[in-house]
Amino acid sequence: MKRLQVAIENKTLANGLKVVIAPDTTAPVVTVGVYYKIGFRLEPQGRSGFAHLFEHMMFQGSANAPKMQHIKLINSSGGTLNGSTSYDVTNYYEAVPSNALERVLWLEADRMRALKVDDENLKNQRDVVKEEVRVNVMNQPYGGFPWLDMPPVAFRNWANAHNFYGDFADLDAADLKDVQAFFKTYYVPNNAVLLILGDVKGEDGLALAEKYFGNIPAGAAPPFADPSEPEQNEERRGNVEEKFGTLPAMAIGYGMPKRRTADWYAMALLDQALHGGRAGRMYRELVLEKQIAVDADGGIDDIFGYNGPTQMTTKIMHKPEYSSDATLSAFDAVIREVREQGINADELEQLKVKWRSDYYATLEGGRGGSMPKYGLMHLLACFTLFDNEPQLVNTILDGFLAVARDEIHAAAKKYLRNEKRAIVFRMPLKASTKEAA
């Protein structure tokens, strides 16, 4: 068995910025990422959607690179860029030919040092974000299902339960003071990690990080609200109307253990036993064998990247001639079997081979064809920000490969319980009303 070993160098600058370099000269390309340890989970109350709106503002201008210059300078260096907001981190990343590395670092440092935006920029991006929400959620069949539908049903703490894309009234209420306050609180070097991956030497990467980021002043340690949930002791259910789609759908989510606990490794493999594509038990039983569902998939969203309550979620679209109850019974039968029997020995062996193969693909993989090493960047960032241990990228695989059958069986019994789950039903409007007007 060939093992993949990622070479890593890392250090923390005097201002608290963590730096991770992963040199690899295979291609004359370098990927740069800056991750801030703040996502939409802990955005301010009354400002739902703000962390994401703020992410857009980071492209609107900094002290020495005004509006439109970030995008122009990366594209015109032969590179691509983007950012994304998730539960517990927000990232900004670029992939460029390696001769543009210093330029990228200068740009990232410039916007970490000082954001320079005005009301017009904010209005502009508020409009852009609303169209983003419309195109991804409000004007799409099954838009936001289940990632926006599930939280208000499953969780009780506002941090986990609110609308992460943002209520439009909250987006409208956000002003420049909010923008600057959020920036000052969370976008400090001591709450971030800089990653440089690809065509760079370790020592050069560290020196460049010092050169461009070293003199950014540290900020106060950011305050983080408590995201913990009260213990759940009853099944929770909710309904969401489906405006466009034609099939009834449901999502069932079970609470997950904390990252890097023994239960977490076991649940990860159990998740693959259930949701591992067409060989997974859910798809096999509901789609291929019983033929109740048209699709059944799901899993643990961003398994390495969450830092608060999360779920393993199954998403089912089923044939209209089967009721929700009948579909849920078929789902329950799959859950009952792993609770009663655990999984088979040869199944576990297969899952481990597949896990290893998928893990390598994640490390190499881009996000689309033009973002190499996105997966490696993401894992290194999460292991650094949450665990202060980037080397986990080389060792964490062992934890998954060591999981035993009885641990999976025990995890199934402990976590896959009705009183620990939430269910969202997304039901199409009646066909007759759909055709009206």
């Binding site: 015109s76 691509t80 001769n99 543009a100 330029r103 466009f244 048209v294 998928d358 190499p372």
Partner: protein
């Protein structure tokens, strides 16, 4: 046009000298049975990516039914004479492999990726799927039903409805006009029809096997000869459909979706195929127009005006024809304003030479992004397959950047005048007619359809 003055950045570090871009060497072979093989090493991870292409897709059998090649590809993984569906899926998992089978307009393909240590069993399974698919009756009934639900669902997606209408408008009676089958057409699929497509198309004479990854090419080639050598079958006769007429004059097609809270716009015109000598010129023109984040259209209707989140233009090159399209999902009250800017930016590129500095930026962009594919196995695979399937010259990858760099403002002006066919663009707007009809009608003679494709008054 942009209403805001653009400020420049100060103190930006210059670019270091470029590192040379070296594409990995390709090992090419043709087996005695006609199967073309291309192999390339990439040792970034202990895996490999592969694709077995057949040069026939939905267009080749469109006279029988739309989507027939896609349905055939779907069935290929559901059972062989040796393995049942469940066995195939478990065997794949046991060697850590991913596999999918699909068909586009011009090709059918089995795509796969797996650990290098299990290359032999994975190639063995691919060979079995390509030669001995069994099309089990029960699997066929199940997949057809799933397909039926899928085509129903498509008709609720604004992006699909827009692309579908544009294809119909641009390609008329040509097979490329049919993006997807109707429910009735799916219901009429017969297992025997799929088996016939399989027998005709899935042959070594029609095939191209591409592998990129962590292996030794000579050893891999021997392996391939062993696995695929005994396969036989000729290339099917290719039929060229009559060329579609080029639509003349702007027209507007409104697809009415009651209650839509946004309008999906797409506009398009005929363009060129990959092999065309103007391809690189059009690629660069497109990246200036709306093909990059930094492009004129994105800066205008997103970063300046905030009409939309995701405006984009692109050139779609199919084997027999190509087309250019521009799309944006916009607020209902700015449909006319967005179309105005879409045409303004097009006409500007048709009228005024691109400033040298902007041209240099766009050349850097295209040339830099092109080499990102070097960094991953599937990135390499897609570049190599692009060259092979489109029969581009052997040095296409190696010379592409020079060709981009050689272009001048005059070249781009001529290219824009030739291909950004502003006066003859066909416009599709998917949205609620009560909100957008009067805006859409400003841009040409209007036809209104419902989501099922029925013409409305």
């Amino acid at each position: 046009m942009a209403t805001r003055t653009v400020e420049v950045a100060t103190g930006v570090p210059g670019l270091a000298p470029e590192r040379a871009v070296t594409w990995p060497k390709r090992t090419k072979a043709r087996l005695p049975n006609g199967l073309e093989v291309i192999l390339a090493e990439s040792h970034s991870i202990p895996k490999f990516h592969g694709e077995l292409f057949f040069r026939s897709g939905n267009a080749a059998v469109a006279d029988r039914a739309p989507g027939l090649a896609e349905m055939t590809a779907t069935m290929v993984r559901t059972g062989t004479v040796k393995r049942a569906s469940r066995q195939i899926e478990e065997d794949l998992r046991s060697i850590g492999a991913d596999l999918s089978s699909a068909a586009g307009m011009d090709t059918s393909a089995i795509s796969f990726a797996g650990l290098s240590e299990f290359a032999e069993p994975l190639l063995g399974l691919v060979n079995e799927l390509a030669r001995e698919a069994a099309f089990p009756e029960a699997e066929f009934e199940r997949e057809r039903r799933q397909k039926l639900e899928e085509v129903k669902l498509e008709r609720t997606q604004p992006g699909f409805l827009a692309s579908e209408r544009l294809r119909k408008v641009l390609f008329g009676a040509h097979p490329y006009a049919q993006l997807s089958p109707s429910e009735q057409q799916v219901a009429a699929y017969k297992r025997e029809d799929l088996q016939m497509v399989y027998r005709e198309s899935y042959t070594p004479g029609n095939g191209l096997l591409l592998l990129v990854g962590d292996f030794d090419p000579q050893a891999m080639l021997q392996n391939i000869e062993k696995v695929f050598g005994a396969w036989t079958g000729k290339k099917p006769e290719s039929r060229m459909a009559a060329a579609p007429a080029n639509p003349h004059g702007r027209r507007v097609y409104l697809v009415h979706v009651p209650g839509a809270v946004q309008t999906q716009i797409v506009a398009g015109c005929h363009a060129i195929m990959r092999r065309h000598p103007d391809w690189v010129k059009l690629g660069l023109t497109n990246s200036l127009y709306g093909g990059a984040f930094n492009s004129r259209l994105v800066m205008n209707i997103r970063e300046d005006k905030g009409y939309t989140y995701s405006p984009r233009s692109g050139v779609s090159a199919l084997r027999q024809h190509g087309y250019l399209s521009v799309s944006a999902a916009v607020r209902n009250d700015v449909v006319a304003a967005s179309l105005t800017e879409i045409f303004y930016e097009m006409d500007k590129l048709r009228s005024l030479p691109v400033p040298e500095a902007e041209l240099a930026d766009a050349q850097n962009y295209l040339s830099g992004v092109f080499s990102m594919g070097l960094a991953t196995q599937d990135g390499l695979l897609s570049q190599f397959s692009n060259v092979a399937l489109n029969e581009l010259p052997d040095d296409y990858l190696e010379t592409y950047r020079q060709k981009v760099r050689a272009l001048t403002p005059d070249d781009l002006l001529a290219t824009a005048r030739k291909y950004l066919d502003s006066a003859n663009m066909q416009i599709v707007a998917v949205g609620d007619r009560t909100q957008i009809e009067s805006q859409a009608a400003l841009f040409g003679e209007l036809e209104v359809y419902d989501a099922q494709g029925k013409r409305l008054d």
